[in-house]
Symmetry: C2
């Protein structure tokens, strides 16, 4: 099409409210327009990108036997009551009443709808395994949408659901899907995406993986071992620390630590290593406000995902009131008075000569040990893995922490939904069984944004040819020159006849404006027709990433472009 | 794919809750599953049909310069407040608050979103005309969903919006879209769709047309002239009647009509022609309950769409209370006491010797005339056109009334939305102007259902090849015969290699089950491989509509199928 007719504006200034580059470029390039917080309309260039991403996803899902279906966006609350998520999920789930006062929800994920669709179909073992998927709009009422298309409230998602009669079959299919995902990310131009173990969260099940694009602007933090292939979201990565056994056991000693409320202040004041301290982090349970005291080594941080999972309920950082019996800033496990949930992180196991709060304002103890001074306690893993920490897989202190954008996730759900929703099949022996499920998601818009984040320069996105809005961008510089225009017009026609997707800029604007717009549209192959080139009987072909720049004879332009498309497509 | 793996069940019994055939067949054929009232999930066969319909629509929209975009399903209420429709539209518009208590709506149409997207882009006349469209999920909280996919609450729709700087340009584009729509309906296999003038309703604007599939199960009624090309939805069709001028003017005469409350009862009692009567239909305004009295000729019915349009507000059939001053059943225009909105249908103009209610219980007047007995009144068109009525275009009494399913609509919206939402452009003279808009909709699921309704037999849909879920359905009858299976397997492979879409049934079921399933899937070309055919070194090729049935040599099957696909595609 002609650029002149392309709906949307492009401009140079970075909008002040854009924190990340892909957001700024998508606004500047006329890709998206904000309709409400976390809700966008897509202009034609981004719509074209997302359609191509969808097609790649579709091909890979079909290749592993997926069958495309369509679930509704609006579902009756009763379906979510069956699975228990109507109550279980928080405010991200939009609930409303229809005109007949029936409670409805907006689909944020479709496990319930998937089970509903195949509950009767899947009544015999002979029909397993099977996988259904859809590419459809979802709405998730995020508290904090951010980063343009990185975290939105409304988005297009491919979500797939597989059904199996055995754990082995689920695992085998899960691995197939894992491989299909790797191909998808490779094909859209993100071969560097890594797979990490993750927390299933509200989806349920035990095993899940996330596909992560490592980038400083990512929302997730990922533990990567440089010595082995261990990779995990820090939400689930085990935190392993070693406590040294040097020196003799000290005796308990009450020390005056006036106004020293943080463990760092206390250790600095006492000139004591922070690894030999125990700090207290206090939470309250969301349901009833009950206090939860978590003790862990002073140099570690709490991983709240692990804490919530252990408790099986939500918590928030506590507000310590005067009458609750806690001496804020001086809390410790010894001589603690009151009825609290008390938890010990396993970093305290075998830790000696600890400093911890004395439960008396302005006092701490020194020389403490959990087992000796408190007695037997249960230890669990509540701490966040640290940069430089010990790898839970190979045991080497080789962990690095990276930021990442999650571009896909896969879950082994087990029988969570089939059991709660009463989906059963008769096995070979005529016995009723619950099928096992897997589910597999990719957010289309976020993936487009992630590609833009990974492939751009200051002037615009550098779209891989597999998902670029067009393959070729023809610039007719000085369209007022009859020779230029005639040749550029002909080239435009000829490329279209070869089914090449061309955007053609024949506007009467200067080359600077023309190239700035071309940069913002990020089309991989640019063809420049200008009076100077025409005088040399050639045109210029350059790639958006500047890797290739060449002059070709006018008559050979079409075949040179075809060759280049083939080369870019192959790599 | 193999039929054995196809998700969804097929069965013979017509579900008792299905009133129309397409609904029953789509349930029986494993096309749809009801999730809630008017909300469905789509199984793979129907998803494939709708994808093909979408692609045809997309090609035709692109061919008239449309640019595909994507608007959100969830929009802020503020956008609908700008246009005035947040208040103006009734309960069909789903309204809810998000987690931050911001009022939101679910998109049932996207004029507001379209204006929002291009409000800045369209600031100069040089950018006009342009058209944007999307294919996206919509939700309309219908009071009475019915007929499977014919009237649903959630549906996929193609909605297009064009923008213009002059009435002529809008009309020219409107006509282009009109032609594109005709091509779309032709290509999906409904060349018989007719275009009718229609009521713009909540969309606004003055001129609109509907594309109708005429069928007895349609929800709309259409006036079609057998003498000229007049076609209109009866909602807007002018009702023209002639009043005879035979005989002498009678004098007013009060007559006793005990217990005769309907005009038909009165006329029968008095042995008086009903064309010479005036009946009263009473409504109340929705806003305040005020009574509206509508007088029209006794043989006609009220067209409530015209009434609402005239009043500019909603009404409902009145509840006549004892104290309202109306003598229910005996109301007439003469000696009427009380403060009511009184309206006269133009059928009463020049009507003489009328019977009408006397506003006294059990009494009517005879020999009445409006102008003579009441004085000058304004007449408007409030009556519903009748079968056998006069054509508003050619004047001949040649109107027939048909039922129809609306499969598409187009509207000349004018400046309704651009004005209310403050979208302006600078014209050539630097003056600010409001652009004119057109909008153009097609419901994808309803179109699929309409094709099924028009193209089926008792055994299943007869899908046109352009939108069929697959092109070829291969039945391997007696798959336990090694020769049959070997040949059918090879044929399946070869057809796939030719990029032909095949569904392959190699199940160990009898031919009856196999053919019943094939009928339900409605694939246009069926290939039957059986031991008997193999013995004759051939296979059978039959079309779903039974028009073609032939035996071809085994080695020639692929090319025969290719030829047949080409023939079916061309017709």
């Amino acid at each position: 099409m002609k650029l002149e007719k392309l709906v949307g504006d492009r401009f140079k200034e970075r909008p002040s409210d854009c924190v990340i580059d892909s957001h700024a470029l998508m606004i500047r390039g006329g890709y998206i327009k904000n309709v409400a917080n976390g809700i966008f309309s897509l202009y034609p260039p981004l719509y074209r990108v997302t359609r191509k991403i969808e097609q790649i996803i579709r091909e890979e899902m079909d290749a592993i036997g997926g069958q495309e279906v369509l679930f509704p966006v609006v579902m009756p609350a009763s379906l979510w009551e069956e699975s228990g998520r109507y109550q279980g999920v928080g405010e991200e789930l939009v609930r409303f009443n229809d005109r007949n006062k029936s409670p409805m929800v907006l689909g944020m994920t479709h496990e319930e709808a998937a089970v509903h669709l195949v509950r009767e179909y899947g009544q015999s073992y002979t029909r397993y395994p099977f996988m259904i998927y859809q590419i459809q709009t979802k709405f998730r009422d995020e508290a904090r949408p951010r980063g343009g298309l990185i975290r939105v409230r409304e988005f297009t998602m491919k979500d797939a659901y597989s059904f199996h009669t055995s754990r082995e079959d689920l695992e085998e299919y899960y691995y197939k899907c894992y491989e299909a995902y790797k191909r998808i990310f490779y094909r859209v131009g993100l071969p560097e995406v890594v797979v990490v173990a993750s927390d299933p969260g509200m989806m349920g099940g035990n095993i899940s993986h996330e596909f992560m694009l490592l980038t400083p602007i990512g929302e997730d933090s990922i533990a990567v071992c440089s010595h082995c292939d261990y990779r995990a979201n820090t939400e689930v990565a085990e935190c392993i620390v070693e406590n040294d056994d040097e020196g003799a056991d000290e005796k308990p000693d009450l020390v005056y630590t006036p106004g020293m409320k943080t463990i760092d202040e206390v250790c600095a004041f006492l000139n004591h290593p922070v690894e030999h301290s125990c700090k207290t982090v206090v939470y309250q349970k969301k349901a009833g406000g009950e206090y939860v005291l978590l003790f862990l080594r002073g140099d570690l941080e709490v991983n709240e995902t692990k804490l919530r999972k252990h408790l099986g309920e939500d918590v928030y950082p506590a507000v310590i009131t005067g009458d609750c019996g806690l001496a804020a800033g001086f809390i410790g496990p010894f001589n603690l008075k009151g009825d609290f949930t008390v938890l010990f992180d396993r970093s305290l196991k075998d830790a000696r000569n600890l400093v911890w709060g004395a439960n008396i304002a302005d006092y701490h103890y020194k020389g403490m040990q959990v087992e000796r001074d408190i007695g037997h306690v249960e230890y669990h893993d509540f701490a966040r893995i640290k940069d430089g920490g010990i790898c839970p897989q190979c045991g080497k202190p080789a962990i690095s922490i990276f930021r990442g954008i999650e571009v896909g996730n896969i879950f082994q759900l087990g029988t969570k939904y089939t059991r709660s929703m009463g989906m059963q099949y008769l096995d070979k022996n005529g016995e009723r069984q619950y099928p096992l499920m897997g589910c597999y998601g990719i957010g289309v818009g976020r993936l487009a944004a992630a590609v833009c984040e990974a492939r751009h320069d200051d002037f615009g996105p550098i779209w891989p040819i597999s998902i670029a809005p067009w393959q070729v961008h023809t610039c007719c510089v000085r369209a007022d020159s009859a020779e230029s225009r005639e040749y550029a017009d002909r080239l435009y026609r000829e490329l279209q006849e070869k089914n090449i997707e061309v955007i053609y800029d024949d506007r009467s604007v200067n080359a600077g404006v023309m190239f700035a717009d071309a940069d913002l549209l990020g089309v991989p192959i640019r063809v420049i027709v200008s009076p100077r080139n025409i005088r040399e009987s050639c045109c210029e072909i350059v790639t958006r990433d500047k890797a290739i720049s060449m002059k070709v004879k006018m008559g050979e332009a079409v075949s040179a472009i075809q060759d280049l498309i083939a080369r870019l497509t192959a790599r």
